[in-house]
Symmetry: C2
Subunit: 536 residues, 2 copies
């Protein structure tokens, strides 16, 4: 499929023109009941309210044209069907398929990518048997006790997504079960987690696709040494998730091994074995399958070319309006849901590693803006932290609110006629309005400029099914934005240079400890940095 330049599309030109005088949301009753009802899409259990974006019918029509011209949904379909889209034409690149969607396309007789789905089903079956064996006592510890804790050792995609979803769905935890995560090569991370759990009844789940991630292998060794120091046999406690044939794919070292494949990128791997093992251990296999069902249903809805019936596409294109036409560099993702406290951190990776690119899939440098900076914290906490800048600062930040009408736990209290849940949702809706319409005041310090765009995504309750839908919605949105910009959202060459330089610094440290001294005249840049930092 030929990839055109983003700025070459006819709709690009029209949107550029329209962006010179976007609708003023602060004037009169521009934001009124009709507008609120009109700019609302309900799909897959979510209501998306976007009347508080700086859009109108004409802009929406041109965004649809842009999506059509860029063949966003066709590219999405090609992805799902296994085209090798992870590539840069004319240059050495990963040259792989992108098939994370196949991991959850397990509910239909004829999935989009039958082979990858077949493989995913086999892994799920293996996992289901393994979990049953844990339940029935086939696998037990040195004392014959069952395991109740899993520590996932992984970093980046092998950490953020599984961790965010585990925290989101903790209320579904099986009785007595717990999952913990170790990511950072900072040994203080390992120390704190291990001090907090009973090693004897703990399984350690080491997750690395390549089987060669520095942090993960280092932490695995450190955790193994602690187990051995406690008289525990790692062979009874360690399991692995890794690529088939990777250096870690060694069944003699692990109680069990689960596989992921090179067509699943780390940041899109939550619904593969990378997330499956810990989540299904903690929440139960059936709950994990519900998560897959929610994700798959969202993937299916994402196949529509009509923005009005495709939330993934609609949110993608509104994001492009804010990024490329209104010129906003960042997006704040603000879940009004404490269980989603780490979901923004997951999206930060998924989005920024995917679309923080300067080269098109055709090998040309882009001369348009690509992925924004994603940041945010849960509401209402953020209201008491950084909302001051969002309301009155000199930089405009588009906001994406996420909320639910019901609690996940049964605890609540009615004070002054409303529950805490009602207060939470009322605050979210109020903020969306406040950002958009502002408030005039003669005191300049009490004046609110408004016209700060935002939208609200509202679900009934945070469940495995809705969590799966929310995850897939954002994954698809991100991929679709990449398709529209014409970048490869599935590689990450930008992480290489730091690795190389870190390797050089570590070599110098080793040499210094071996006592091999350099001549003063030979001091390299790296060496001088280590000396200035008082490391050498």
């Amino acid at each position: 499929m030929e990839i055109k330049r983003f700025t070459s599309y006819k709709a690009y030109e029209k949107l550029s023109h329209l962006s010179q005088s976007p609708i003023d949301l602060t004037v009169g009753d521009v934001v009124n009941a009709d507008r609120i009802e009109k700019y609302k899409v309900s799909q897959n259990g979510f209501d998306y309210l976007f009347a508080t974006q700086r859009i109108d019918d004409q802009i929406l029509a041109e965004l649809q044209n842009l999506a059509d011209e860029a063949r966003v949904v066709e590219q999405f379909m090609a992805m799902k069907q296994g085209e090798s889209i992870n590539c840069i034409e004319g240059w050495e690149s990963e040259n792989r398929q992108v098939l994370h969607t196949a991991c959850r396309d397990i509910f239909r007789a004829i999935p989009s990518a039958p082979e990858a789905t077949e493989t995913a089903k086999k892994e799920l079956n293996t996992l289901e048997r393994f979990l049953a064996d844990l339940d029935s006592g086939v696998f037990v510890n040195e004392k014959g006790e069952k395991f109740d804790t899993m520590v996932q050792v992984g970093i980046g995609g092998s950490d953020l997504g599984p961790r965010a979803l585990y925290l989101a769905l903790k209320n579904y935890l099986l009785e007595g079960r717990e999952v913990r995560f170790i990511a950072n090569v900072d040994p203080d991370d390992v120390a704190e987690v291990l001090a907090d759990i009973n090693l004897e009844t703990t399984l350690v789940n080491v997750v690395s696709k390549s089987g060669s991630t520095l942090e993960t292998l280092t932490n695995e060794s450190l955790v193994r040494s602690v187990f051995q120091g406690a008289g525990l046999d790692p062979a009874l406690h360690f399991i692995a998730v890794t690529g088939e044939g990777s250096p870690m794919d060694d069944s003699s070292r692990y109680l069990a091994t689960f596989h992921m494949y090179d067509y699943i990128g780390g940041r899109y791997s939550v619904t593969s074995m990378v997330g499956a093992v810990s989540l299904a251990f903690g929440l139960g296999f059936d709950n994990f399958k519900e998560l897959l069902r929610g994700a798959n249903d969202m993937d299916l809805a994402a196949e529509s070319r009509d923005m009005q019936s495709n939330l993934s596409l609609l949110t993608a294109m509104i994001g492009i309006w804010n990024r490329n036409f209104l010129g906003h560099e960042t997006v704040a993702v603000l879940p009004y849901s404490q269980p989603l406290s780490r979901f923004t951190a997951h999206l930060q990776q998924c989005d920024m590693e995917s679309n923080g690119k300067s080269v098109g899939r055709n090998g040309d440098l882009v001369d348009w803006k690509t992925g924004p900076i994603i940041w945010g914290e849960p509401g209402t906490n953020g209201q008491h932290a950084f909302y001051q800048l969002l309301h009155q600062g000199t930089t405009v930040v588009p906001v994406e609110f996420i909320g639910f009408r019901s609690n996940v736990y049964d605890l609540d209290i009615n004070i002054n006629g409303t529950t805490s849940r009602q207060k939470l949702v009322a605050n979210m809706l109020a903020q969306s309005l406040a950002f958009a319409i502002g408030k005039k005041d003669s005191n300049p310090n009490k004046n609110f400029g408004g016209n700060r765009p935002g939208s609200v995504l509202l679900g009934e309750r945070l469940t495995p099914y809705s969590m799966g839908g929310l995850l897939a919605l954002y994954e698809n949105k991100i991929a679709m934005q990449g398709f529209c910009w014409g970048v490869n959202s599935f590689d990450q060459e930008g992480v290489q240079l730091g690795k190389v330089l870190a390797g050089r610094l570590l070599d110098l440290m080793v040499k210094a400890e071996e006592g091999s001294e350099c001549m003063a005249s030979e001091i390299s840049l790296e060496e001088s940095l280590l000396r200035a930092a008082k490391i050498l």
Copy 2:
């Protein structure tokens, strides 16, 4: 003190000119051993390496001139000495002193603001006695047992700073002690925390300066109801930190009450009773005092007008260079230290709520950029998440690395000749270099543009003393930037509108439940929003 317009300073004009061709860090050996050694300041146990900023001697000289012209340090001194700088001239405003520094100025015979320091000392004495009474069993639970857990209920400044510092210093925890935090009005937050602790041996520390914070009062009621439901007497378990004379300042409802004062802003309140009670309960009174000592020593160093001997001022002015002259909208604060995992979230409030302003202290609208967006996650985790965009994205993000040469726990492992700590520090230093110098590659996808500014702040070890220094360094930096921009960094009028609108939505919800229906013709904007959200 007259506040001039930021753009009226002579140095502003010169810096604007210099910013048109800032030093190119990617050319030849511009970043070399000499430069690294030259752009380094060592102070209060920290080494600050800033050779990887896009600065040179001329720029530094003009930044010093700018600081002098704006009388940044004079304003800082006026703040410390109790001038009423929390105001907007000619308009209704808080009109208060700003004296958080007085809370830690307790080590000198003649402090900068004697009265406020005397008050702070009294509160510290009260706290010390209370903690001794807990130790000796004067205050015990219904069964005569001692308390081992404290739950801090607060939000914003009554949560983020104390939480961040507690996590940072957890290795100093007194045997058996634990502190937990509840902030969000989401009742699921309360449910998860309370499910995890033994209520019988728990003290609940309710923190609200105004004594009227919606979230905190709601959560207090919810937690009280859970205690009562468990047959526990809140009068034996609840303590308070609040302003003298606030609605919460009612000794009949609390086992003990500690005070803060209107001259201490929430986001600057960690070293007041807001942080003191929980931190001293968890880490011990002496460790909290060491934290105060570290903060105070940094405050004293901040009194120098010379950037080269004043890290607070130097980092403030480099931040202004990046924000106003190089035009960067965000700053990533990246601690290579897992214990500092929430320090960036604290700074996000401290910085964005302070300087996310559009009005000068003289009441004029600003026509220059003020506070940036602060975001970030710990390294090396971030390297596997969002660094792709930092290296190769279309938006440049200045980065602030923070790291330490030693672990806080004793656990570590040597693999391939280096410890995990060495790997952590090597990665941080390598990244600072990689962002600055980049790497040319004929494959455009493997090309690194460089010239992405950053700096490294390196300490020996994270201790109460160094944590205090780090906290004060950033507090002072933020205040000094505000002084330079001429804004009031100590109010937060931008949070009001959302509160008002949320109140209206809650009123509508109450009315709806009472059954008082509106006529269709009278439907308000707020009501239509609630209907669209399926709340009404």
